[in-house]
Every structure is written in C-alpha cells, then in structure tokens.
Symmetry: C2
Amino acid sequence: MKPNCTNLEWVGRARCSVCDVRNFVLFAGLPANTLDSLLLPIDNLHAPQHHPLYGQGEAAAHVYTIRSGLIKLRVDLPNGGQRIVRLLGPGDLIGMEALVGDPYHHSAIVMQDADLCRIPLEVVRKLDQTSPEVHRALQQRWQRSVDQADLFITSLSTGSAESRMARLLMMLLQSQTTIHTEFSLPSREDMGALLGITTETASRIMAEFKRRGLVQMDRSIYMGCDQDQLAALAES
Amino acid sequence: MKPNCTNLEWVGRARCSVCDVRNFVLFAGLPANTLDSLLLPIDNLHAPQHHPLYGQGEAAAHVYTIRSGLIKLRVDLPNGGQRIVRLLGPGDLIGMEALVGDPYHHSAIVMQDADLCRIPLEVVRKLDQTSPEVHRALQQRWQRSVDQADLFITSLSTGSAESRMARLLMMLLQSQTTIHTEFSLPSREDMGALLGITTETASRIMAEFKRRGLVQMDRSIYMGCDQDQLAALAES
DNA sequence: CGTTATGTTGACCTCCTTCAAAGGCTGTGG
DNA sequence: CCACAGCCTTTGAAGGAGGTCAACATAACG
C-alpha cells in the first residue's frame, strides 16, 4: 500500500545509511544510526515528469531532497499567468518555507523524472538542533535558494530574450549530472514561464538556434550544442 | 576616532538593551544582558544616501541589521550592466552569505538614509547556537531573503514595464514605516536597474504617471498617489 | 485513425530600446 | 549674486524586439 501517493511511485522507506547520494544531500556527516533512531518515516519516492509534489498555499509538513532529476517551482500570478522561479536538481532541498511554519510558497512540479526523499519537518528540526553538521548544511541550502533566486533575476530576467534563452540552456546543461548526454528539454511553454516571455517567442528562438546549429535536438531531446557560441550570446 | 568608517557616521557602540527596534530585529527575545556579555563590538552606524556598505566579492566579516532607511543590493553583470536584486528595510538583515563563509554576493548601497547595526559574524554564530530565539529569527530572515527575491522575479521582472513600475511604487510605499508621508523616490536609473528596463523608459513611465495623476511628486520626493489605479495597473 | 496537445510560422502592431538633443536642478567659483 | 559646469530628467524620432492572433504542422494518445 502506497502511503498517500496518488500516481507517485513509492520506492520504500528510505535507508539513509546506505543512500548513495547521502554525502551531498542534507544529512552528510551524520553518524549512520542517528537517522534510524528517529523512528520517523523518511520516504523514498520516484516521481515521473509533470508530477506535482505539492501546490502553492498547501499546508506544509515535509521538505524534499532531490536525489536525481529536475524540479520546477512555479508561482501563480494574481492576473492568471504563472512564472517559474526556480529549477532545482540533485542535492537541493525544496519546501524549506515549511521550517518557519509557512504553507508552501510555490507549486513544485517534476520536470525530469526524479528520485526524492520526503522528510517530515520534525526530523529536520530535530537534527538542526542536535547536529552541527546538519545545521550548517541547512544554512547552506537556504543560502543556495537565495543564490538560485538571484540567478533567475540576473540571468533569466535580464537582457534580450535570446541571451536569456542561451543562459537557460547553459544552466540546464550545468544541472545535468551526467555531462554530454541526452536529456529532455522543457516545453516551450515552460521556457516562456522561465524567461518571462511568450511561448511563441520561446519557440521562435529555439527554432532559430536549431537552424543556426547552436543546439542539436530531436523532438524535445537535447543532443548537444555549441557551448562557445551560446556563451557568447549569453553576454549580449 | 571612527572605526574604519570613511564618510560613515559612527553613532556609537550599540546598546542593544535599550534599542528601540530591538523587538523586531534579530535579537528579539534575548535576555537583556546576553549581548553585553559577548564583549564583541556591535556598532551602531548612520549612513547617508548613496553610501556603499560593502561591495560584491569583498571578504565578509559582518552582517548588518537595518533599523531605518532603505538599502539596495546590486549585482554587477558580466556584460558591464548591473541589476538591483533586492530592496531591504527596517528589520531586514543583509550580508547573510557571510554566515556560510562566502564573500558578499552583492554591493549594498544606501537608497534612503539609514541607521544600521553592524554585527560581527562571530556574534551571530554564537547566538545562533546558544539562543533558540535567535536561531529561529535567523531562519526567518533567511526565508525572507528568498521571499524578497521571489517577489523581484514575479513582480518586478514579469509583465509590461508599466505594470512592473506600478508594482515597484506600491512596494516602496509598503516599505515605508511612516505611512502616507513623503519620501525620496529612487533615481530613474535605479528604477531601470530594479525593473530590467532602460533609464529612458523608466523616465517616460514616471512622467506619464505624473501626468495622469497616478502619483504626485516634487523633484524626486513622493507626495501621494492613487493606490487603487496603481493596483489596477499592477495586474495587467 | 481521429483527437488533442504541442510546436512552428506568418502578419501585424505595440512596446521598448537606441541615439540624440534639450531642459532643469545643484553646486562651485568668480 | 550670477555664470557656468555637471548631472539627472525629459522628450523626440526611428528602428527593432517581442507580443498577439491566427493558421498550420507535427507529435502524442487513446
């Protein structure tokens, strides 16, 4: 029986002591038995593309660490539109606003198939108090959120649509763990929501990039690019 | 003798136990003598408009709390331009990246005459460990930074230049402690850097707002506005 | 195999940038 | 006190970038 997962594959109770990415996620440096002794359910989840983890405004009881994949944080705007304010990958922590008692500030949706750990708030709060390593790691994650947000302002919301798109592509490359391999690009609609432009403009720019040989792709699968030329475009 | 302040008025060693804004800045809830017992210099500073508090990339040894005034955080872009990524006011904490050992990520510059407390890193680190109240306050400040950054993405980097300007004006109103009174508006250049538009466009929009009676102002001093109409424009 | 989402392209028009010039305010020195 | 320089703001004209609306193509899907 899957615990409150509609559509979501529950892989099992997380066994953090043997987690392969443990050393770069939140609990790096913890003694092996500390987590097990908490007796609180840290669930290991696999979520497919387009799956929503949580919605903006929902009461928050968990934070999530990303083991693999890519998650988007989306904000619904008062005038009906929506804007993606963050892209998060392996090692990132999402839903941290829960730690200060807030409801979720965004809708979190899977962009590339993801493995996640869902951690109850109490676990994080407890470890924050008892483990200096976790406490430091938590501060670093918080700072990382700020840095990511700043990057969205300076890189994806500044300059011409073309250079913003170039920066987005390089950012996506960066976020891939396995370098130089294929991965699924965001839809044109998502690109628009990421860059603050319309779907049509996103499409036009991508089509133009493809024609100019700046990026190779098949359907929506990335298959290589000219990083030098993209970098040049990024600094217009 | 003023301690390493070029141009900056040193008001005195901070006496936190009698600080009038103490209850909404970082050290709310601390026993009165805790801070004095640290024997570390928390300086109380007054900084005039345009004064730089620190520069992007500098080694960071202090965080600052804002007692009054308005501070802008600016990022220098690789292509020579610059973008303002945050506006911070009373109760806000700036330079938090210092806590994780980073150099300052922005240049912090005074936009409206400010009273500040400059707090050595060690003081904050110490209190973070020893006082649960400060620890919670710190988390809240970190989350606030994230929220502010998100607001810059969704409100000041999304939609037409006109609606973004309307949102900026409402945001500036919000940030004033003394409501319905006069205050100095940012220069057109700063408005441009805040909204990701050119100085000329910022000027045109403000001139048009003035003509339409949406804002009243004398030189660069705000003197009232039509909040309803601005709010309507903000949601275009 | 139709149906529906998603991507592409075209035409047109608006908004914003760019470059240029003029006006206004401030401070300084005569 | 006035003249002048320097800075910021305003405004104009022209071109370009992006939005809008619509048609069409292509891929995804039951």
